[in-house]
Symmetry: C2
Amino acid sequence: MSSDFDEIDSIINARSLAIVGASGVPMKFGSYYTSSQLQMDFAGSLYLINPNEKEIMGRSVYPDLKSLPEVPDLVALTIPAHTSLEVMRECADIGVKGVIMIASGFREVGGEGEALQEEALEIARAGGFRIVGPNCFGIYNPRNRLTVIPGYDFSKTPGRIAFISQSGGYSVHVARQAQSLGLGFSAVVSYGNAADLNEADFLLYFAQDRQTGVIAGYLEGVMDGESFSKALSEASAVKPVVLWKVGRSESSKRAVASHTGSMAGSSEIWDGLVRQHGVIPASGVDEVVDILLALERLGVRPGRRILMASGGGGIGTYAGDVAEAEGLTIPPLEEGCLKRMQAILNRAGAVAGNPLDIGAPLIPMPEFEGAIREAAMNPSTDILIFDLAINFGYDLAGEAGLDLVSDILIRTRRESEKPLVVVLYSRSFDPDKLDLEGVLRRMRWKLLGEGIPVYPSVPRAMRAIARVNIQATASLSA
Amino acid sequence: MSSDFDEIDSIINARSLAIVGASGVPMKFGSYYTSSQLQMDFAGSLYLINPNEKEIMGRSVYPDLKSLPEVPDLVALTIPAHTSLEVMRECADIGVKGVIMIASGFREVGGEGEALQEEALEIARAGGFRIVGPNCFGIYNPRNRLTVIPGYDFSKTPGRIAFISQSGGYSVHVARQAQSLGLGFSAVVSYGNAADLNEADFLLYFAQDRQTGVIAGYLEGVMDGESFSKALSEASAVKPVVLWKVGRSESSKRAVASHTGSMAGSSEIWDGLVRQHGVIPASGVDEVVDILLALERLGVRPGRRILMASGGGGIGTYAGDVAEAEGLTIPPLEEGCLKRMQAILNRAGAVAGNPLDIGAPLIPMPEFEGAIREAAMNPSTDILIFDLAINFGYDLAGEAGLDLVSDILIRTRRESEKPLVVVLYSRSFDPDKLDLEGVLRRMRWKLLGEGIPVYPSVPRAMRAIARVNIQATASLSA
């Protein structure tokens, strides 16, 4: 392991943390961060620092870093840009390992801010510590229950996904949505302006980090093309890498400059890198989360041949167009499978084949189970997608009806070697129909708990499947 | 008005309805339809017909059509294909105006089914009545509270949207989702195989229907290219037409044939028709509903110049790329507006401009209101989109915080002449966090009630805006 790895590791897996600017005053960033970290219950030693307060949220407060009983591994600065450098010098004096600079007002505002950022970097280099930020939300790590990020409700259970992000807002958004679908993170890092540690450093770190199985990122710019390409090559050779890169349009390039002071760079060069290293491209929070769900539940390259099943002829018909647009296929059933399925579904309204229309909502459950099992076993397809059209089963038998359906889907998944993907959506957004939303969420949770990914629409399911069918890179294909 | 109009009108606005095959036996289509129509409380005379039952769900039952005290305008057949023709002959004998044939087992199965469908059509022609279907879900019309469709929970309040669909499932799915966003229908027609009345007939009917302001459709095939093109030309000259056409891919063409026995036709010809007549193309339920929401709240051609506002730099940055991909722009602010906004947002974390980053979540509300009002008034943009990033306001002040935010948005909308579009999403799908889902649904409902369209993501909002900026056709541009 390189010394870079150890330096980043002592930040991410810090055993002691000081929050400078901790506060009990509402509407201050310091208070937001303090309450978040207190709710997460940091596994190491947590020190709150504020020269003007004696006690915050029931914890005693230190006036400055020098008064602490130990040198903290990590210092989080939740103080304004212009007061940061003085504390950075203290950090250098006592010998911390890393500093997270939350405040904005640095390179992204140009002029004086740019000079401040340069000076901060010089202090860190001379003092022998590393910087995350500035202009960021910081780090979440369930292993040491670190959450220098507004993630008070984040999970305390570690998972396999590392998410790095130049945007603080998206770091929180992706983490929250993914966690509510049962996905877990090894860490989330919002690194903003990347004055010191940047996307290449974090890619290399998470490529080596044993807890991490998948790396995802939101990038606005790349600090150094050559080191980034090298890091990408190394990371994508050992783990799937999902990247959401913004800055293609003119207005987006302008926004990148004023947001994190980055250079968005050329889309052509970016697209080349993505192809060369087998990176999975993503666009938007929904797509990132959809792809992470597919990677965690289906793995890479689950195959492109879909068996599309549902209760309704329209769904399968539409799905064919979506599949083709995404580079997937819905091939005819293998002949033996077709004959067995025709024998099971021998009645008006049902159509044996691929797409398969089971003729819901009035199909008897044993017939449904027989047909869906045949579909799961069909040799000419890789993945079974079942669309729970308008919450099939619910109108006739309520939550118990949906439970019967999900039990059949779960049994089918257990008995088949092939992945099953379920499409399930809210049929109403009415505030007065929260009871039905609860029923659907419990059903989704039950399926997710059995390793069955659940998507809100056929296009979103198919796009995620298409994206994780990345071309093999040397190590991943081994 | 043509005689076709009167014939279709006497079906859709029927004053008397007989359900042949009405049933109280669960898991039968007849029972599904009977209970649906009883819950909707038909405004005219409703007759239940079944020779083997005396009473169904508390209503008396007639043994056959000839025993009725009057000739019903409309007869709905919820009986199997092979027993349909006998009843069709009765319909001809007594002189009804229309028959809805629900059952499948006709042209879409080929052979004998095809012959059955031909014979049904001959009986109707000889008897002087029209057919909807077969192999369909039927009709919903809130004006006479007709719901020969499994739409027991559909609204009883008429709206302006007509939706015609070859798929029964999608007719119900689109109607339910749209209604839960406050959109209303003049009628929904699922017409399946289109043995007699087809897409061209319904297009012409709804073009003339005064209650209808927008026509949308899900099509698998077109019965007669020439009459369809003529109908499309006539309809799109007077009302916006949104069409979701499937059958581009090989598997979809196969599915079209086995679903409604249609011919999907050539994608090139279709794309030409769409361009020629200024049709708004759509793909999938979500997109259809998104476009209908935009048409109803923004109208056609609201403009393509977006002011993108949010609390967070990432959102505006990403939005630039989405806008460009959809043919929208995020132009710089007009100079006076920029200066006023800079004066209001004079602090770290906020970026005055377009995109606009208000620096949430810690912005004071008066500052937010000042900035958002400037944004709404900016002369160089047509539409303001505000993304309520991760439910801005909620963490700091709960539902009351979100209420403050939505009150400001509503005041801004009322004071500005320009449309405001809000992006609001669930940040968690956790079954245990239904309370937050309730808060968000109430907020969405409140905004929708003020004429502010609410979308679940920036890409979905922008795509809908892009689609309703259709090119002018002769009459619409007048």
